[in-house]
């Protein structure tokens, strides 16, 4: 007999996020509720939560980069990134992000996914450059447009990463697919799998790229 009660944990997460409670609080309450509904004793739930937290510390390690980025910002990194773009006459926000999308996909495809990312490249370089280019196209940006350009910079990084990294044969997700399939007696090589990531990568470049060029039209129109 399957115990369906832990599904309520999922409902709590969805509800909590929808009502915009503090996400940390939502996640902790959902975790404890799910554990209890799964008939785990409370101490075991807290222990499992702690164990999971401790085992996953590597997720948070990236923030050792903050003092470097912060220092460089104090000495004018973002201003420099803006000035650099302001001097390139043909630069537009959309074209800039399109080039970044291509680079991000190619770098991820050759196994260099962690070379770029939100703290490393988007905040200090890509977002200020995109904003500077958008100002050239559009004149001073209102708050809504600023938000849109920044959000598209972050989105471009994500799309480039997700739809590039699976072309690399030694990435975790390819190994996971290989492992799961092997557990059903289906033997696949990482290469067979990574080849099939290429059509989706091309579609991602076309679809997101088209949106970036549309962003340019939108920015240009309101000048």
């Amino acid at each position: 007999m399957i115990n369906y009660w832990p599904l309520l944990g999922i409902a709590l997460v969805v509800l909590g996020f929808a009502l915009r409670f503090n996400p940390l609080l939502v996640v902790a309450i959902a975790a404890i509720a799910t554990g209890l509904l799964g008939r785990m004793p409370i101490l075991k739930v807290i222990g499992t939560l702690g164990h999971g937290f401790n085992d996953n510390r590597y997720v948070t390690v990236i923030y050792i980069i903050l003092p470097v980025i912060g220092l460089l910002e104090r000495y004018g990194l973002q201003e420099r990134a803006r000035a650099l773009i302001a001097n390139v006459r043909t630069a537009t926000a959309g074209r800039l992000l399109l080039v970044y999308l291509g680079f991000r996909q190619i770098l991820s495809a050759v196994g260099l996914a962690s070379v770029a990312g939100h703290p490393q490249t988007v905040r200090p370089l890509v977002a200020p450059m995109a904003l500077a280019a958008a100002e050239k196209q559009h004149g001073p940006l209102d708050e809504e447009t600023t938000e849109l350009v920044k959000a598209m910079a972050a989105a471009t990084d994500n799309v480039g990463l997700f739809f590039g990294e699976d072309i690399f044969v030694a990435i975790a997700s390819i190994l996971l697919i290989q492992g799961s399939m092997a557990s059903f007696g289906i033997q696949l090589t990482p290469f067979q799998l990574s080849v099939w990531a290429i059509p989706s990568a091309i579609c991602a470049f076309i679809i997101h790229g088209a949106r970036l060029l549309l962003l340019d039209r939108k920015l240009g129109r309101r000048r």
Partner: protein, 318 residues
């Protein structure tokens, strides 16, 4: 051998410096809350392996209580005025990019060196932690260059790091919290439950219907769990292998690879994928915490349709 342990020592030092910097920021009325939050993370990185499961669990609960009760504040004051930064940008020129580029270059060259030379066999770096260790090396190099060239005070580095850390705030630990939620979900048997539900929903459908349910199932389950990795084994066991591969004769490489990528379309649309969707919103100081997700919808939906077509035409019609 350099293992993750040493990286955690470095990370603990970084979070301890954020605690110090937050405590020094008199402009923040909630500075003691921020300070305690970062100090607890430093404790987790330094002593996590000795705290025991319950100890770590209690540490997590205190972190959550601090954030949930609003005892820490997001954002802190600018440390340098705009004119100062602009003057400095003019004075230092494009060389300012150099320290920022040292970090990715170290990762790039380091990975090449490690993989293509006998370095791998010497056992200097734990092969499972190469990327992260090289990140740590890059950060230390970049910091040394900054100190040698720009000559900031030690406390300037502390203040700048904690300024950025406080602008992201509690969102910094959200991805790690979600990973532990995933551990609890798995321990409570959620994967099997969802798999059984989905499996029961389709007694036997046409191939195109089965492909649709498989891809949409990946998307929905990915959105719930925050990553496609947790969703894949469940959906493969419920539909991918028994129905798409075994009864309908689909190509398992396509079912596997493109099934996972359909899940990635879900990752673009969920706040549960916090490190991709929520943290950047904080990092870029967006007003709407769901701004990045909003920007990604119009890419994710057509891309999902493309993936479903690739699954159907690439996987079945030969």
């Amino acid at each position: 051998m350099i293992t993750l342990h040493w990286l955690y020592v470095l990370a603990g030092a970084a979070f301890a410096s954020f605690a110090l910097g937050s405590g020094r920021d008199a402009s923040n009325p909630k500075r003691w809350g921020n300070m305690l939050f970062w100090a607890l993370l430093a404790v987790s990185f330094w002593f996590g392996d000795r705290l025991g499961d319950i100890g770590n669990g209690l540490l997590v609960l205190v972190l959550v209580a601090l954030a949930g009760a609003g005892l820490i504040s997001r954002g802190s004051s600018e440390t340098a005025r705009t004119e100062e930064r602009e003057r400095s940008a003019l004075r230092h020129g494009n060389a300012l990019f150099l320290p920022a580029l040292v970090i990715p270059s170290t990762a790039f060259l380091g990975t090449l060196l490690f993989n293509e030379t006998p370095l791998k066999t010497l056992g200097i770096i734990d092969p499972n932690a190469v990327t992260l260790v090289l990140l740590g090396v890059g950060v230390i190099l970049a910091l040394l260059i900054c100190f040698a060239w720009l000559r900031p005070s030690f406390l300037a580095a502390v203040d700048e790091g904690s300024r950025l850390a406080n602008s992201i705030g509690w969102a910094i630990v959200l991805p790690q919290m979600l990973a532990s939620l995933g551990v609890i979900f798995a321990a409570a048997g959620l994967g099997t439950t969802v798999g059984a539900l989905v499996g029961a929903a389709i007694p036997h459908a046409t191939t195109i219907m089965a492909v649709l349910i498989y891809a949409l199932g990946m998307v929905v389950f990915t959105m719930i769990m925050g990553n496609a990795f947790a969703a894949f084994p469940v959906m493969a066991a419920a539909i991918g292998v028994p129905i798409l591969v075994h009864s309908d004769g689909g190509n398992p490489a396509v079912i596997g690879a493109v099934g996972m990528l359909s899940g990635f379309c879900g990752t673009l649309m969920t706040p549960m994928a916090a490190n991709f969707n929520i943290v950047p919103a904080a990092l870029l100081e967006l007003k709407n915490q769901y701004g990045v997700i909003k920007a990604q919808f119009a890419t994710a939906i057509p891309l999902l349709i493309a993936n479903i077509l690739i699954l159907y035409f690439g996987g079945f019609h030969r």
